[in-house]
Assembly symmetry: C2
Homo-oligomer: 557 residues x 2
């Protein structure tokens, strides 16, 4: 057999498209530094060496040359969950370094920050990188979830960086990892360590974006893959006409994935956590909304449908959040140990007696096994593990119960049979879409440019992403420009803001304008699989989220 598939082989030969400035020689342009507001001033105090720097862009240059006199050694590490395109950041970095000077070297730290701290690394060569070009996964060097945030870690890292004569480290990660990259950059600058730090925005959840960063990589591919599967289930649904499919999607802290999939597929129901939170819905309101849509469709003879549920929905419900907070508090007290001496079926009622009435009644309204799961299944810090609840299954049960009540009251006549799905892991390591392959490779090439310009404390950016890749603009934004202050444990902590779904933004507005029609009619769209070869409109399109955010319309130009 082939130990690599025909597509693996073909994809490894794909040449990513890059901003024109990266093809030849570039010229670094700087934008004006805006006058800092109070928050920016506070952040500048915490980052004296890496704040107040300008946003930069790389423009095409006819005259200047981008070759280096001397070789440049760079290190890279991947942090956190996999996202399609990670290997392309590496190959972009490698090709960029080699084009600057053929003796430049790229070192990959193994299994994320651990490799940096514990000095586990490999030198990345063309032979090693070749089979991973345009391939999914992070397996070339691995990734890890260790947080790089302590001075001892920074110092341990510096030993190996110096040993390998590495002048810059590229950190690929989400908001947390890039926040830590910012702190590392500031620290190395403060001690004149001579190591630059450049970040790259990664996360399939799409919650690392904003005015300065159009999108995080992996979001495009993951949503294309989930949308394919949702489209297939929609086809199944409308062919068989007998099931409601409740589909849980990744996205604990933001609902961008669910929103993008809803725009792509036009399901009957898509729950957007941020929307539900803004409405201050209780679980009962959520269940009521779903049940009403089901009843409305049943009246039209449609006993089937599709509901998309973001995995973080429960934690977004303020009332549920309050229950969890009080449970965490109560269960940490010694007196709560008493519940272990009770029969399992008595535990919920016992705990409920010790909670505020609102929280007690919510706890008692949950199916017994869910309530017990909350009481018994706790993480190493003693906290209730909301993520272990199979939200999609819970919602089906509660909706079923609500529909029975409505039927008894003569408000619903219909049959309700439901199937549940969770689309998660299958989307994190797909072959990257052309968009992500181009975007990530460009990010890697951009990082090299920023490094060669001597910058540190910057995130690499590629903008104008709804246009063909050669019209995109490479650049960099200082980490500190992405930061804001969050109160954590009583202290104001500078962090890179997690970007939630903007209820005033164009993507949500488009969804909100259409959802009522999608609820009652069958407007299903079938996106089909990821496409790599063919006309541009099937293989190079960005997400509808980006189209709406940047161009204001989902339609092609």
């Amino acid at each position: 057999m082939f130990d690599i598939s025909p597509l693996q082989k073909l994809r490894s030969q794909y040449t990513p498209k890059i901003p024109v400035a990266l093809n030849g020689a570039w010229r670094l342009c700087t934008a004006d530094v805006p006058t800092p507001d109070a928050e920016a001033k506070a952040i500048a105090m915490m980052f004296p060496h890496t704040s107040g720097m300008p946003r930069v862009y790389l423009r095409n240059s006819e005259t200047e040359t981008s070759r280096q006199e001397k070789p440049l050694n760079v290190g890279i590490l991947l942090s956190g969950g996999q996202a399609p395109g990670g290997h392309n950041v590496i190959s972009g970095l490698f090709d960029g370094l080699k084009s600057l000077h053929p003796d430049s070297r790229l070192y990959g730290f193994l299994m994320g920050p651990d490799g940096l701290i514990n000095h586990k690394y490999i030198e990345l060569t063309e032979a090693l990188i070749a089979p991973y070009r345009n391939a999914g996964g992070f397996d070339m060097i691995g990734s890890g979830r260790t947080k790089l945030e302590k001075k001892e870690q920074f110092d341990a890292a510096l030993l190996i960086l110096k040993h390998l004569d590495i002048s810059a480290l590229v950190i690929v990660g989400g908001d947390d990892s890039n926040t830590n990259a910012a702190i590392l950059a500031e620290y190395y600058r403060s001690i004149n360590a001579g190591v630059q730090i450049i970040g790259c925005p990664k996360t399939i959840d799409g919650d690392l974006k904003g005015r300065e960063i159009e999108c995080s990589f992996g979001f495009d591919t993951a949503t294309k893959l989930y949308a394919e599967l949702i489209g297939n289930v929609q086809r199944d649904c409308v062919s068989a006409k007998k099931y409601w499919h409740f589909i849980k999607l990744m996205g604990r802290t933001a609902s961008h994935i669910t929103l993008e999939c809803a725009l792509k597929c036009q399901p009957n129901i898509a729950i957007i956590s941020e929307d539900v939170k803004a409405k201050d819905w209780r679980i009962a309101d959520l269940v009521e909304y779903i049940a009403e849509v089901i009843a409305k469709r049943a009246e039209r003879g449609l006993m089937y449908g599709i509901a998309l549920i973001p995995e973080g929905i429960l934690e977004f419900l303020p009332s549920f959040r309050r229950l969890i907070d009080e449970l965490n508090d109560y269960l940490s007290r010694p007196e709560s140990d008493h519940i272990k001496r009770l029969a399992r079926l008595e535990r919920t009622a016992f705990v409920a007696e010790h909670l505020k009435p609102e929280n007690a009644s919510l706890l008692l309204s949950l199916p017994q096994y869910v309530a017990l799961q909350l009481l018994e299944d706790r993480d190493p810090h003693g906290n209730v593990q909301v993520s272990k609840i199979e939200t999609e299954v819970l919602l089906v049960e509660l909706v079923k119960e609500r529909l029975s009540q409505m039927a008894a009251a003569g408000r619903y006549q219909g049959k309700f049979a439901a199937l549940t799905h969770f689309f998660g892991y299958e989307g994190r390591c797909s072959f990257p879409s052309n968009f992500d392959a181009d975007y990530c490779y460009s990010l890697g090439r951009t990082a090299v440019a920023l490094i060669s310009e001597g910058l540190t404390g910057y995130m690499a950016t590629v903008s104008n992403t709804t246009h063909p890749a050669d019209h995109c603009v490479a650049g960099g934004v200082p980490f500190t420009r992405l930061m804001h202050l969050e109160r954590r444990a009583g202290l104001a902590k500078p962090v890179i803001r997690k970007s939630l779904v903007d209820l005033q933004g164009a993507p949500f507005a488009y969804f909100a304008d259409h959802r009522s029609r999608w609820e009652s009619e069958d407007c299903y769209v079938y996106p089909g699989p990821l496409v790599f070869y063919g006309p541009r409109e099937i293989c190079d399109e960005p997400t509808l989220t980006l189209r709406l955010e940047i161009d204001g319309t989902p339609f092609f130009e």
Copy 2:
């Protein structure tokens, strides 16, 4: 927004490739009828009007014309679960009929056999068919699971067939539906009804195949989709290096899907039900095998892996089958009602006392909740619902237990964390692969040819499927040639044989030759998504099962 996706639009314009004889005029060739053996003779007695007919092939003809003098009206119905390509059978049928005579008509019976019996139908026009060309799903006319097997149904159907002046009915279904199509063909012939019956082989499970039928449609697409997802999970697995993924795949009565996915992806473990049955394994043996592979990998420092599990595995285990049989028997007896009066936790032990020792000990060895599910969750016929057991979850639990025992005995040192997946519905309604799009469209065109030749009681066939579509051979095989006798409720019933994985066949042999290496090393292959456009080796390839069965090698020519 687009109410259809760009890919939907593009795919609707794809022109399926067909055997050369279907492009122009054909000539019907007949093969010799083999001398019947005893079973064939018995079957011939039951099908006096539709047995003893020859296998037929359509050859290209320079001279004969395939146009009809008069229009030809044909009906079609889809039976059973969805499979990618169903719409292409319809469009092939439509185009074939129109090319015979422009006034020919095609009627689609709605929601499967129900539409035929209850006279629900639509006339299929080019406008109606156009958007469904090369699209997934069965939603153009729907499908259903009603069995078409009673004389009253046949007579009710004849009324509408005659009313619409339909001279042939095409039935698209699996082994059961085609068995019933055979009975219908015989009945209509016996009463000179003047309606021909032609079948088409459909099922993603791939268990309708044999000497005369190379494959059923949908298997190619479904396995390509599952293999994409498995490949993605494999990438995730080898990137994170911390989980075992247990992936359940469709296939209750045969393991072709699991085998094909194993050939495509080279996972560490793939359980083939037929293999396990042949070895007469108990659950404990299966668990032992999986645990041994995990331990073997852990010794090499690999605390992760991929295991593929066919959904029907439990029912293939002879010892489990015996437990289920005795449970069905015991639970149907009035005395078993007593268990309802027992506390839930006492029920398993009580029932075990009334079973044979071997079955009792198996029941008691299952996790409590699985045992209870078997006792409490019964179908409308009172039978235990094995399919409701989450086999992949059960196996993880049993393996975990076994690994603890091995650890205690010093035979295993390692960490075992597992995630479970079920890939099912997302594969049934995908856009058909080019293979299935071509194959199904060709089946539809072939059915028209068989009809115009006046044949009835035939299944449409397309052979030589590992070659480019124009080199494939259209033809037909009498239903009775596919039948054998099965004892059901004491009677010998003629049925189309369900084709299980052949342990002597080339696909299983290839797997068996390689699995030991795949167990201990990481030989993961990443097939990537379904590809429609590009070089032939990525977009027109048949399954590896077909390559091995027909060409004896998985390699390209």
